[in-house]
């Protein structure tokens, strides 16, 4: 096995494989605990997601948000920073987009309104993300603690704005926005009818392509990865870690913020308190299984979106909460099993090398 095959195996194949196997085994146990036949339930899950265009549309919709938070966490990790704050950044992005959408006069052409809203989402998420970046660069404050705490602060702040300033009475959401709505995919492809899938997915695919290009084709990306991989070598090369931390976290926050578009402009046409529903935290799982690679992140987002939509499809047989359990178990399994299998693989290789 040469180095490149091994790297491919370890980095790209192993995590999703572990995730899939563990999800299947744990899922079987839960299904049987509920007195159902695993085969039947799994089949229903697949049919309800990839088996019909509505279900598939919903998977795409959910994957769109997860891809954003996954990319956000991935960019942070590439710079050596753990962004646990995607949840708050996502909410801020959605709020920013919704606010601009509300402020624009009705009938603003989409060509102007949508980019403005997208910019607002990026800016709001980026602003929230840059706080831990600055605190890390300036004071050495650990980004994990800061991002966790910031989640609560941002969510409380947004809750205040929505409940006290902007809400439709008796609800926790803003009025409908006048401009900037992103069209549903079903407008173009009848098959998606009823699903929330919308053109945000294209924006997100572009964002993923941008992130890939940034990380692997620009000098800034080169320097960002250098800091994440070996900060001493980066220092030797004249790269200022503080600047990289700041820009990485701002970018990370902006990517998470972008995900807010999907719900606010693409689905409901208003900002609603609590719309994030844990997508920010799942972004950690998405980045983990996608190995911080934009392509991997997109695939992992599809995987988790499938699980999440699949939960609804099987709810009649097994409580949909089963998939939440599976998500936790999958993350745990990938976090523990992958390094373990990698160690075993390495020691097996070195043994073979040592043998005459």
């Amino acid at each position: 096995m040469n180095t490149r095959t091994r790297v491919l195996l370890e980095e790209s194949v192993l995590p999703p494989l572990v995730a899939l196997v563990v999800a299947l085994v744990a899922g079987d146990l839960l299904i049987m605990a509920y007195g159902q036949a695993p085969g039947v339930v799994w089949r229903a899950l697949l049919e309800g997601t990839w088996g019909n265009s509505y279900g598939f549309g919903q998977v795409l919709y959910k994957a769109t948000t997860l891809a954003c938070t996954g990319l956000a966490v991935a960019v942070g990790l590439r710079a050596g920073l753990f962004n646990i704050g995607a949840e708050g950044q996502l909410a801020a992005g959605g709020f920013g987009a919704g606010l601009v959408g509300l402020m624009l006069p009705a009938g603003t052409p989409a060509l102007i309104a949508v980019p403005l809203c997208v910019l607002a989402a990026l800016a709001a998420g980026g602003a929230v993300g840059s706080v831990p970046g600055i605190l890390r660069a300036r004071f050495g404050a650990h980004e994990v603690i800061v991002t966790i705490m910031l989640n609560f602060i941002v969510l409380a702040l947004l809750n205040y704005f929505v409940s006290a300033k902007l809400h439709v009475p008796e609800t926790l959401h803003t009025p409908e926005i006048h401009a900037g709505a992103v069209a549903r995919l079903s407008g173009t492809f009848d098959a998606f009818h009823g699903s929330a899938a919308n053109w945000t997915i294209v924006i997100v695919l572009l964002a993923a392509a941008f992130v890939w290009g940034f990380l692997f084709r620009t000098r800034a990306g080169y320097e960002l990865r250098a800091v994440g991989l070996q900060s001493d070598a980066a220092e030797y090369a004249g790269i200022r870690a503080g600047r990289v931390w700041f820009s990485a976290m701002a970018m990370s926050g902006a990517l998470a913020g972008l995900g807010g578009i999907n719900f606010v402009l693409g689905y409901k046409n208003y900002y609603e308190d609590g719309f994030t529903g844990g997508a920010g935290f799942l972004g950690i799982a998405v980045a983990l299984i996608g190995r911080n690679n934009p392509v991997g992140v997109l695939l992992a987002a599809l995987f988790f979106a499938t699980l999440s939509q699949g939960g609804l499809a099987i709810n009649a047989m097994v409580p949909k909460q089963m998939v939440e359990v599976l998500q936790g178990i999958v993350i745990l399994a990938v976090a523990t099993a992958v390094p373990e299998v990698r160690r075993l693989l390495r020691s097996a290789m070195s043994r073979r090398k040592a043998a005459p």
């Binding site: 839960l30 605990a33 509920y34 753990f82 646990i84 605190l135 300036r138 004071f139 050495g140 404050a141 650990h142 994990v144 603690i145 800061v146 966790i148 705490m149 910031l150 609560f152 602060i153 409380a156 702040l157 809750n159 205040y160 409940s163 006290a164 844990g278 935290f281 799942l282 950690i284 799982a285 983990l288 409580p319 909460q321 089963m322 998939v323 939440e324 359990v325 599976l326 998500q327 936790g328 178990i329 993350i331 745990l332 976090a335 523990t336 099993a337 390094p339 373990e340």
Partner: protein, 292 residues
């Protein structure tokens, strides 16, 4: 009288924080990141309700809740110590898992997606008499837990080893301290303690409701950090945070400060503390590093 009511209310809010923060303090001092307190609490709350429901005994409810905490703590310890997994990732996973598994079994055991039926407990029923509050053994335990934790960490052999292991594990290992065993014990203890916080919530309200811990585990973590990883200071932070909450509840009618801003206090203070704007709070040196 208002003062007494205020104090009673503060204590009532503080008890779960105190339990969870005690757990957070011991685990973090041993060098293991405690993002899991929230999950431990939720698991403990659910375990307590299950136990109380099936046995009819609040005491056995406590036992069941602690058992769930020990179980979750063992998973956390095993993944972080034995498998050297990233502790932040493990923390996020366990919290997600705890939400999912409690919902799943809520459905399985009680056919509800929102709450369990009423179970026996210690808390006062609606309104709340101070007699019932004082009769709750968990209140007294909760008040004692931080001084006890301070004693354990500062005055016992185990505590000395916990401090050594969290600060410089190689040095501890070089003189024969079983580093991993100390960490296992600390993390499992943190599971049991944080779970007690959840047990208190559930038995006080006589039921389990979906995601009933509502971020209290993170407030407890904030208290640990704000208290600079010292149990007594963390305990004071818990009381401070609880007092702020009480104030918010009392002022709600008056609408002086929006409640959300009061709710932010613990988090803002914690960020200020880690940024070192007023006296830096330095975590245990080996926190989060179990790989070497």
């Amino acid at each position: 009288m208002t003062v007494l009511l205020f104090l009673a209310q503060t204590l009532r809010i503080a008890i779960p924080y105190l339990f969870a923060a005690a757990g957070g303090a011991i685990a973090e001092r041993a060098g293991v990141v405690s993002l899991t307190l929230e999950g431990f609490m939720l698991g403990g709350a659910f375990g307590a309700v299950l136990g109380a429901h099936y046995t009819g005994s609040a005491w056995l409810g406590i036992a069941a809740g602690v058992a769930v905490g020990v179980l979750l703590g063992s998973i956390h310890a095993g993944a972080s110590i034995r498998f050297k997994a990233d502790q932040v990732v493990v923390g996020v996973a366990i919290n997600l898992f705890a939400v999912g598994i409690t919902r799943f079994f809520l459905q399985l055991a009680f056919q509800s997606s929102s709450n369990s039926p009423r179970v026996v407990g210690f808390g006062a029923s609606a309104g709340g008499s101070s007699a019932a509050f004082l009769a709750n053994p968990l209140v007294w335990l909760g008040l004692a837990v931080m001084p006890a934790m301070a004693f354990v960490i500062n005055k016992t052999r185990f505590g000395l080893r916990v401090r050594a292991v969290g600060e410089h594990p190689q040095a501890a290992a070089s003189v024969g301290v079983p580093v991993n065993r100390v960490r296992y014990a600390a993390v499992i203890a943190s599971g049991a303690l944080a779970a007690l916080g959840g047990v208190y919530l559930a038995l006080d309200q006589h039921q389990f409701t979906d995601s009933m811990t509502a971020g209290r585990g993170f407030i407890a973590l904030a208290a640990v950090i704000f208290g600079r990883w010292d149990p007594l200071r963390a305990g004071v932070a818990c009381l401070l945070f609880a007092a702020a909450e009480t104030l918010q509840i009392q002022l709600q009618a008056a609408q002086i400060i929006p409640s959300q801003f009061v709710a932010m206090i613990p988090y803002v203070l914690t960020i200020v503390a880690v940024a070192g704007v007023v006296g830096r709070s330095t975590p245990p040196a080996a926190l989060g590093k179990t790989s070497e």
